[in-house]
Symmetry: D3
């Protein structure tokens, strides 16, 4: 798996704000009162449940941001499967620092691993088909870059990052434009040549109109399996096909079997449970 580079310049500010959110104005009252400033310890982050790793660099950066003197060693790699009980990060240094940064690091990492783990489940559910699992824009505010990266770690692919990087013509745009043809033409006149045009269709009639005027991707919205299969036949390679709407782990395989190229799942980012992680301190 060739993962994209998640640059610190993208998440450094996020980490700092998250630490300040947890430290407040007074810092870690409990730790500062009970643990000596010069006490040293080793800490290990470990998975308490089986899952897929995503975000190890960011967890590491949380500890290093709180205390640059901490020595942090990554014991696995994003995109790897984790066994329950597996150690994934070692932190050596000030016991105070390790405990003070713990919760912020875990909160970010558990969410990212949660997204990767749920994505992996969908990817496995469609294995053997040619369908790719893709995400949506239904992400946690201010975490889109982190969550879309986590989807990649889970074996999924990214749909558009935001409103400005590709076109997705939905029902309201069609109504405003007057017709599929008018909408697509307006987009062609207005947007740059680097932008792909995707059309959301509810019916096979709309699909035919879209294919006629020519589009790059067609989003087949909330269609049942039979309709999806006919839609794929109708498209016949003239556009990329994307099934969308209420796809669950139970229905994923059947949908994938229709031959769609893509299956987009909002739940990957809006409803993934956190992976269960903990930090063990060895003093």
């Amino acid at each position: 798996m060739m993962l994209p580079a998640l640059r610190p310049v993208i998440y450094a500010d996020f980490i700092e704000r998250a630490l300040r959110e947890d430290l407040g104005r007074g810092g870690d009252l409990t730790t500062d009162a009970t643990i000596a400033a010069d006490a040293l310890a080793d800490g290990f982050i470990l998975a308490r449940a089986e899952g897929r790793l995503a975000g190890l660099d960011i967890a590491r950066a949380v500890f290093e941001k709180l205390d640059p003197a901490l020595k942090v060693v990554e014991l696995s790699i994003d995109g790897q499967d984790l066994a329950a009980g597996q150690r994934i990060l070692k932190i050596h240094g000030s016991a105070r620092s390790i405990l003070t940064a713990e919760r912020t690091a875990l909160n970010v990492l558990a969410r990212m691993c949660g997204v990767a783990t749920l994505t992996r489940a969908y990817v496995r559910a469609v294995q053997g088909s040619g369908a790719r699992i893709v995400d949506t824009r239904k992400t946690t505010p201010l975490m889109r870059a982190l969550e879309k990266y986590s989807v990649r770690c889970g074996g999924g692919y990214n749909h558009r990052f935001a409103l400005d990087d590709s076109v997705l013509i939905k029902d309201n745009h069609l109504v405003a434009a007057g017709s599929v043809e008018a909408a697509v033409n307006a987009v062609r006149r207005g947007v740059g040549h680097t932008v792909k045009i995707e059309l959301e269709v509810d019916t096979l009639e709309q699909l035919e109109q879209g294919l006629e005027i020519g589009i790059d991707v067609v989003l087949l919205d909330n269609m049942d399996v039979a309709t999806l299969r006919r839609a794929v036949e109708l498209v016949d390679g003239r556009a990329i096909t994307e099934a969308s709407g209420g796809i669950t782990l139970d229905t994923a395989a059947a949908i994938a079997a229709t031959g769609v190229d893509l299956m987009s799942v909002g739940a990957l980012t809006h409803s993934a449970p956190a992976l269960d992680l903990s930090l063990d301190l060895v003093s």
Copy 2:
């Protein structure tokens, strides 16, 4: 329900960043190309599933931040139950603006309602007992204020907001301090008089030590129902009792029946699925 005031000064910056995350540098390519700048519309946010409302002011603020000319009317109140299909926010004005702000508004609101709805389920599960459902610090980074407010909307209560507003002595602090007595005394020497002291205990022995030295709250960690019951008897009103660790909707009633004062549930904020919401446009 007397809800705390969630001040715009707390979430305004969050909203702006979230909008910028979705608009990027080029804005809403699709909408700007297909819908006229002067087209007007009415939009309604509605619940597609039954749930509990939290965050309506913030959703409203998203639309008003994107376009101050939009007229936004709240059709319900935070803390209210929502029926499936119920309209909760009306937006009138530029059709472009409504569609461009839609996803950011829904992403925040669906997450907040998700937390409130899951909290409500736990609150209902323990109804009739005296136990309060409380949250933890296992929140989404940068959303702690919003999520803890959502817990309140769901009928739950808040545990500490951060590391600097109350003391929670855990295992690692005890080890460093040497004993329960030493740890509690160190805290008393070090922290201010406005700060409550909570002690996490794994065993009834630890609990007795804590009660002897005197603590405000005791966190009973991962104890089974029988042990919890004995712990409550042992405490006998000398401290507030909090059950914690893997509490599910299935086990909640039994735990509440032990007589504990509080039950803390990390899942309220780290694993609540988003409530299903949508925006309907009426042009």
Copy 3:
């Protein structure tokens, strides 16, 4: 001309920082010492040279940000041609406020109009051909959204907004990947389905390899007119063609005549002279 919406949430922070840059810690020493706090005036921004308007909303926002009590009226519309001497913005209110905001407003507006005016010149130079003038990523740091919008006001089109919204395979990527085929396949495996793939080629051989493997756009780098013409014939509609490299107002027409679809010009944003604007005060 259907212009995209340039949302305040994109430029509000930019404007505030720009005002603070000019006011420093002490504000407008001269104005505050010589003009009474309650003196009123009318100010007009006018073009001192012929050109194309871009950024009027932003100029307006500068005045309103400095002093919300100012009444600002826009006297033209972005994308319109301006005659020398034409008034484009009227500001009524505190004379102090008008003078203090003047330079910041003019600095932003003059640069945006400069970009629009230069773009217009290129667009006129290729008029009658089917070629579109497009911008590049060679923009002023922190002004990309404003400058790409200005290009639209000048009649041009936007190339990609940033590194994350489309693929442009250049020489270094080809070398690293080993071949055109390997590079394109790596991209197809790695990036989402909403992303178009553009290939930069120096020779007709590379072009043929690209067409064979299948690409969306081909960037014909620094080719002379004869080679461009052959490249267009070779492509024969199988990809969008973009001429790039040192295109000047003198050479633009000849290049457009080769039949290329796009001509990208870095100078639109990195070297456009500011349009000459001034503010007249009528007290």
Copy 4:
């Protein structure tokens, strides 16, 4: 040439924002898909045209900010002349990092060198006279510190940095105050003793009034060469003289010959074309 220190604390935030503007949410799609995470390379920034160097530290900081593991070596010094083809910065390390930071680094550096190079042309045009070339406040928003430093690298001098560091009484201030005398007296009463007073005059009559009341600097606005010469004689060393208004490379020498102390040129910062730079990768 003794250059001022351009401190990272001034430009660090600017650089981070510029990188985020170009990386967006998804980062460098092309590079991350085609180049292995562990591939190493050497990159060289070189001048493709003759010019004057300004901003090398900032370019270096862009690369180091994106990837602290890069080794960056400066091959020249700000304020030096550059030959076409001359290498000015060497970067060793991750090939991905070098390519991802390239455009942001070049965009800043090309603009700064552009300002320095145009300044140098004006300085050379007045060589032999005693006149200094000075800048104005007509700078790119948020780049004032960088552009005024670039003017210094080009051999020019800085006019005031902002509204709060010296007084420049213009026409509108005179009208509001009632007379030159009233305006100057108001300023003397109001502003601190560290602030110099400059008066803009359109006519020799105004100049005489200014000299009578006593001013530090006189801005001779849009005067022809003959009038400038008479103004210089009239001043006779009682104030610093500054010629301003539409000074071009063609007219600069004649204006300098009038004996003015300073010539201020807005074009140095508002209309300097970028210097042509490129990055070569050697893998």
Copy 5:
């Protein structure tokens, strides 16, 4: 004295802004013009008056932020007494950097030491009694974390950090709630279990009502010594007692002798004179 950890993540942004406030856009004009870029020097911060040290890490961070190449050595420890003339920080490196950072470093450090020194005076005034000196929320905006830490360095203790970490029921809250009982009950219903409840009382009657309903802390507002003594007797250990209102160094001992647990002094942070510090340069 076991001091809390004052984490860089809390003050790093503050320091950067403070440096930018003093450097402006042009930096240190005087130093950059008179001192060579490669001149080295040793600088020492020393106390010119006797006092208590607080904030040495922050002063160090100011120098390191301006110029990471400076070598800074701390010669004392926060919470230590300083003799007049004592050296407390050594800085080695660029003479320019030392002089440019000097004022910002001294401004922060002198204020923090001032707070610590005044706190120490109050602590000494009540020595021998059991009373703790505590601070208030009357702090310098944006310096609360730093000033409350300084109070600790002076031997004092912290009252609540902010509005969200404990409850203090004042007169206006009582009036709104209707009675002491109603107010306390409302708070118990509304706030979390980790929050202590403090009641401000003006009279012994109010005190009795408070004790009856049960509160954690009682603030005895502006009572004379005789009344305070009776209040302490009345409370008889049922709540923590805090004297507040106009306590001076002259009256502190008598108030402490009444047996109150706490004495809160707003002047610690709102009116502490800066400690006299200077920087000596040895070149």
Copy 6:
């Protein structure tokens, strides 16, 4: 008194951060639990001691920022004297909002009035002489603009705002440059024409050297009254004279009588006690 305009763009961000510092993540626990969301009240800020007003707009802005629905009326004007007991600001609206914003508003206003009041005392002490009282750069970090404005409200004048708006050659610069002449010449070569040059001298010999080479302002550092008098005679109008160093309210008149033009007092901003203010609520 013609006061400079203190623009919201300068202090808006400061106010927001200050409010967030006091509200934390949970807001005003006490107020939100005891006061109904729809309860209305009138609040009055009043002076509890005699003093000079500065910062009323900022106090108003704090309330309006927390709750834009509050109606705030200013009852006095910056620069006016305040009697003990005088009402200076009226706030009408949500009782919750008034109480929640109270402390932040008072903290800013009390500090600004404190600076103005102490400045007024110095100004009165030198009344009848021609000497101006001026401030220094010894200000509270991030409050320089507010504190220097407060000095103006107190009748004082501003020294330079920061390192970049005028030159002050001190001992270390002289040592580095080699001589007074060398230092002044270096500055003349290096800095812009809008910048005044001030020289700090310890002895009359240094003063003579400075006068010979020509300087704008001379800072007479820590001289006794007799030496100051001789220095003023020596200068004889050739430069502005500034006495500095340990000037107290007791010594001010005598120093003013030496004929110096300026007396700079660091204590105005680093050690001014807060003015005693309070907020009364009338429900």
